[in-house]
Amino acid sequence: MYIEKLNLINFKNYEEADLQFSPNINIFLGDNGAGKTNLLDAIHCLSLTKSAFHSNESYNIKKHERFFSLLATFRKENKALTLQYDLQSGQKKVFRCNNVPYERITDHIGKFPVVLIAPYDTDVFREGSEERRKFFDAIFSQIDSHYLLQLISYNQLLKQRNALLKQFAESGRCDDILLESYNERLLPLNASIAGLRQKYLDQYIPYFMEHYQAIAEKREAPSLQYQSTVLSNHFEDQFRKNKSKDLVLQRTTLGVHRDDVEFKIDEVALKTFASQGQQKSFLIALKLAQFDLFRSALQTTPILLMDDIFDKLDDFRIGKLIQMVQEGRFGQVFITDARPERTEYFFQQLQREMRIFTIENGNVQEK
């Protein structure tokens, strides 16, 4: 799958732009603040119906304007498909595929997969467990829409149960039958979500290991370990036993919303001791494993977006990535760089078709 044409109107710092892409390699060059990352985000928006950088959609509308519109032609299994994403300030977004608006936006997720490697990504091991759950939930939701729907139901039920606990705490009275009405629905969802997380991690981890070994300079043993109280045999009992604790804390203390995935290298937690280089290798391996999982589960090659990787990575790891591009491991690739001579240096030996775009203050010109 690849994106053929992209038209932007009032998207971030673009007033209007028309781009035609190569199915292979596309490079965006331009100074800091020119709008390179914004173009990657436009593609991200079309894939996932939301920005990679912030959850407030109206931030994507160009300053002083009232709407934005993204229109793209994708090619998938030799068929041309148009995607259109319109947002008017103060209104709900409209997302169309071949001119037909989706009834449920979630129906779009996973149909046009992209993988983005971007600088801020280190949150996934620097921050708490929530970032890691978000990271893996985003991946699994794209390969299994059922997983996404279960997650949405779970979060909704959890919000209701927590609101209920709060009201019980305030009034000093607990309606056990009502609480049980939520438990009865949360318990099977817990089991099912944890089961799916385990299943997809089992598919994901081998890809991760393979990429880590290929990218790391030294021989070391990384590991990813799913941690969940839900998979224990006593989960249901424990969940009900925690009622009094839940009432005191006014929130649900057990469940998949507390899960984590532990990142380690040679048995040591990544965030405490790993070197910068190890963290970089870890990050790329996580992303490339996502790429491979998407390709096998969705049976379509995702688009790869690489934002400022030359800044973040050393020559050795960049070399590895370029080698993979050269070998045709990826389909369509988008790369940004603020320093043209550096990109030229890395890509001059490459025997593949590419298109280079120079960007200046929201204006695009093909080189």
Binding site: S153, Q160, A163, L164, I177, L178, R185
Partner: protein
Amino acid sequence: MQFSSRLIEEAVGEVSKLPGIGKKTALRLVLHLLKESPDKTLRLSDALTNLRTNIRYCSCCHNISDTELCDICSSPRRDKQVICVVEDTRDVMAIENTHQYHGLYHVLGGVISPIERISPADLTIDSLLERIRNEQISEVILALSPTMEGDTTAFYLTRKMKEFPIKITTIARGIPMGGELEYTDELTLGRSIQARIQYES
């Protein structure tokens, strides 16, 4: 929006509080009324005032009614052993339109949702239990929206009714997920009421 008259501004302000109506539409409606003959507007405002001051709810099923006991509850032709539990008046209308159901109703007035501070006490649940206790009821049909809140409410009600020797059923789900009863077409709804199934949690 800048108005040339405070009277218009006031009217637009009130009309635009209605669901699904923005300031622009409200202004169009208000100007439309002004163009029509004065008694049309007065009839509308009379109808609304009347509705507001004289509206009553059936003392038995809580459906909107002009009388103490609604037409359905007082009809000798209805099967008084079966109660169909719904969220609001629109659901009663939708089910009545199918002509497939001849029992009574019970209008809950919503579904349980702690986030919106709607608790069982805000609904007519106690009155439903009272009816089951005091009348000869053989079956209760749960016809709530297949949303998360509707399902939780159905579960809660089943638990509360467990002590009574009645059959609890739910309408068969031809109804799309997340859809509301009101929007389901009559044929599907009629069929799902006939093909109701034993409630399982």
